[in-house]
């Protein structure tokens, strides 16, 4: 279970990297598209037929941020209850908290663009807490390995 916990935490951390990359890719694509005379308006957005380089970045950002990371964060908290390690539940809860905040901010940006400033900064909080949670396992595995060689024993 420790291994599962740490894998999930790394998935969340990797997800943040994908988020940063995908949105930069998409915005770069928009810049290029507009520069070449393309027009982005509600008609194009709702037609779901945009074809510029980088437009794939938006669905990736939406799916990873709206589904993959939150599901992983919930899974991390569930797994934390089966892990015997100090701070596992606390850090899983913190990760879930910042992820929840991140999603709320993300969906509210269109209403209040200033929230984008916090959304970008909070992404780093998601990354750092997820990495910390993952490393927590390595540390506690080292401490526990002497007394508890079978790492995946659940409460019996």
């Amino acid at each position: 279970m420790r291994r599962t916990y740490s894998v999930i935490a790394w998935i969340i951390a990797a997800g943040v990297v994908v988020q940063a990359a995908s949105i930069a890719f998409a915005l770069g694509g928009i810049g290029r598209y507009v520069q070449d005379g393309g027009v982005i308006d509600k008609a194009l957005v709702e037609s779901r037929q945009a074809t510029f380089t980088g437009d794939l970045g938006f669905p990736i950002h939406g799916i990873v941020g709206g589904m993959v990371i939150p599901l992983a964060a919930v899974a991390l908290l569930i797994v934390a209850f089966f892990v015997k390690a100090r701070g596992a539940r606390l850090w899983a809860a913190i990760v879930l908290g910042v992820v929840a905040l991140q999603i709320t901010l993300g969906y509210s940006i269109t209403d209040m663009p200033y929230l984008g400033l916090i959304h970008g900064a909070n992404a780093l909080a998601v990354l750092l807490t997820a990495v910390y949670a993952a490393l927590l396992m390595r540390r506690s595995t080292r401490n526990a390995s002497a007394t508890e060689p079978a790492a995946d024993v659940t409460a019996t």
């Binding site: 308006d41 509600k42 008609a43 194009l44 709702e46 037609s47 037929q49």
Partner: protein, 504 residues
């Protein structure tokens, strides 16, 4: 731990897992729609009945929608034959895309009639495999001609034909489009414009004082913004000082902006004239998806005036056409920057009695738009809700003929929704508590932005079963569709059955 104890635990765990899956499967299958009739959709009481009229529910026996027709004996004044095909659409100025055509082109032919004419359209489906229909967007047709597959007719199958008949009662700008798998077929181009010219006045002079009159139909084909089917800007030749009426039709899935560096006037919204339209300067005017806006543009003394229609295209009014101009010098001048300020149609034009007494409505309904995760027809997703309920548990708005109906449309979601009621025109009464103060604002497609609360009213004067849905058509697929049902009207048609009717 004893082996017996262990076995009990395993069995218990097995039962628990099986129960969870079983309940999950039951819950999932309970959302499957199968074949259904809109007659069975009634997600609870959405409104209030006032005065002496009795409760909202009605006995369902009565007249079939198929019997609600225009005078069958009257000969047609305007007769057109429209053939739908699935084929590559040639887009001048762009690349061709696979889509749908009417009589070989998209947009299809513009149908022009005079007020009072009886219009007869013979629709033939030559090669649209999923079947197709024609809906007359904005025209208050008899219910049998509304073209909604599974409600007012069966989708016209391959090789089939269907005749639509209606009288063109209201002059104005309208359009027609398929209402079978509409999110795909409308986006794919199965559409065209309808213009109904006003009847000549008693004195014999034409009621339309504009020398020049042009349709500007906007549509995105495969990511390409077009004006009347071309990835090119348009030009309308007009004498200096004369005024042209530009009929902008937004056939897309999202709001379009219209603006100009010149002074323009909004002559009509959704086929209804604005009373006393003032000059619009330095403001953009928004057209909801499905909506129309007639704009007056005056040709300048020299060159031409440019009207931006949608984000990408523009149409110039005046002379000479850009191609004939001196090379490198556009007579319409450089494109105008889009104004940040929007014209508020709630306070545009001069007030005049609207001819609809809404002081004591017979019925009041709520149409509250929200969003949540759930299952529709076994498909998981983040779906739209109406009054908190997912499709098909959405309200049925029961009315009686001659009822004055007031509806509060409230958008609690985070996206704009262009709400479109079939068969009627609605009068906007107020927005967020601010009463309308300009010309009566009649619409059939109304953008309701996040957090906004519109109060609208209509006279129930066109019996039938009428869709009341979001015209960002993928939203209708995701549950944003309800219906207005008249007392005593029934439909023999069904959705999802062997006829393959899928209106959204």
């Amino acid at each position: 731990m004893s082996p017996q104890h262990d076995r009990v635990r395993r069995v218990a765990a097995g039962i628990a897992v099986a129960s969870v899956f079983g309940l999950g499967a039951m819950g999932w299958s309970s959302t499957l729609l199968g074949e259904y009739s809109v007659m069975d959709m009634d997600g609870g009481d959405a409104g209030h009945v006032h005065g002496s009229r009795d409760s909202g529910g009605f006995p369902s026996a009565g007249v079939s929608v198929a019997g609600l027709t225009a005078d069958p004996l009257r000969p047609a004044d305007v007769r057109v034959e429209l053939v739908a095909r699935r084929q590559a659409i040639d887009i001048p100025g762009g690349r061709s895309v696979q889509g749908y055509t009417v009589n070989g082109t998209s947009p299809g032919p513009t149908i022009r009639a005079r007020q009072g004419d009886l219009v007869e359209a013979v629709f033939i489906n030559e090669s649209v495999a999923a079947g197709a229909t024609l809906h007359w967007h904005g025209i208050d047709v008899p219910n049998s001609a509304d073209g909604v597959a599974g409600i007012t007719q069966d989708a016209v199958p391959l090789g089939g034909r269907h005749v639509y008949r209606f009288t063109a009662d209201d002059a104005g700008t309208y359009w027609y489009h398929s209402h079978q798998v509409s999110h795909e077929q409308v986006e794919g181009g199965l559409l065209g414009a309808v213009v109904i010219d006003p009847a000549p006045s008693a004195a014999g002079k034409p009621a339309n004082p504009y020398e020049t009159d042009a349709v500007a139909l906007l549509h995105v084909y495969g990511g390409q913004h077009t004006l009347n089917g071309r990835v090119q800007d348009g030009h309308v030749t007009a004498e200096p000082g004369s005024t042209a009426r530009i009929r902008v039709i937004n056939s897309d899935q999202g709001t379009a902006a219209v603006w100009s560096a010149a002074s323009v006037r909004v002559l009509a919204t959704d086929g209804h004239e604005v009373n006393g339209p003032a000059a619009v300067d330095g403001k953009k005017v928004l057209i909801p998806a499905g909506g129309r806006l007639d704009v007056a543009v005056q040709a300048p003394a020299y060159g031409s005036a440019r009207l931006h229609v949608g984000g990408a295209r523009s149409i110039s009014v005046g002379g000479p056409a850009p191609g004939e101009a001196v090379a490198g010098k556009d007579p319409a001048g450089p494109p105008a920057r889009q104004p940040s300020e929007t014209l508020d149609l709630l306070a545009y034009g001069a007030p005049v009695p609207a001819g609809l007494n809404t002081q004591s409505p017979d019925r009041t309904f709520d149409y509250v738009i929200g969003r949540r995760f759930g299952l529709i027809d076994g498909r998981p997703g983040n779906f739209w809700t109406i009054n908190g309920q997912l499709f098909p548990d959405v309200p049925m708005f029961h009315v009686r003929e001659d009822d004055v109906v007031v509806m509060r449309v409230i958008n609690e979601s985070a996206e704009v929704h262009p709400m479109h009621l079939h068969g009627h025109h609605v009068l906007v009464l107020s927005r967020d508590g601010t009463p309308a103060s300009g010309s009566p604002w009649w619409v059939d497609s109304l953008d309701v932005h996040p957090g906004e609360r519109y109060e609208i009213a209509f006279l129930a004067d066109n019996p039938g079963i009428w869709s009341d849905h979001c015209h960002t058509l993928p939203h209708a697929v995701d549950g944003l569709v309800a219906h207005v049902m008249y007392e005593g009207i029934t439909t023999p048609f069904t959705i999802n059955g062997s006829r393959g009717n899928q209106p959204e």
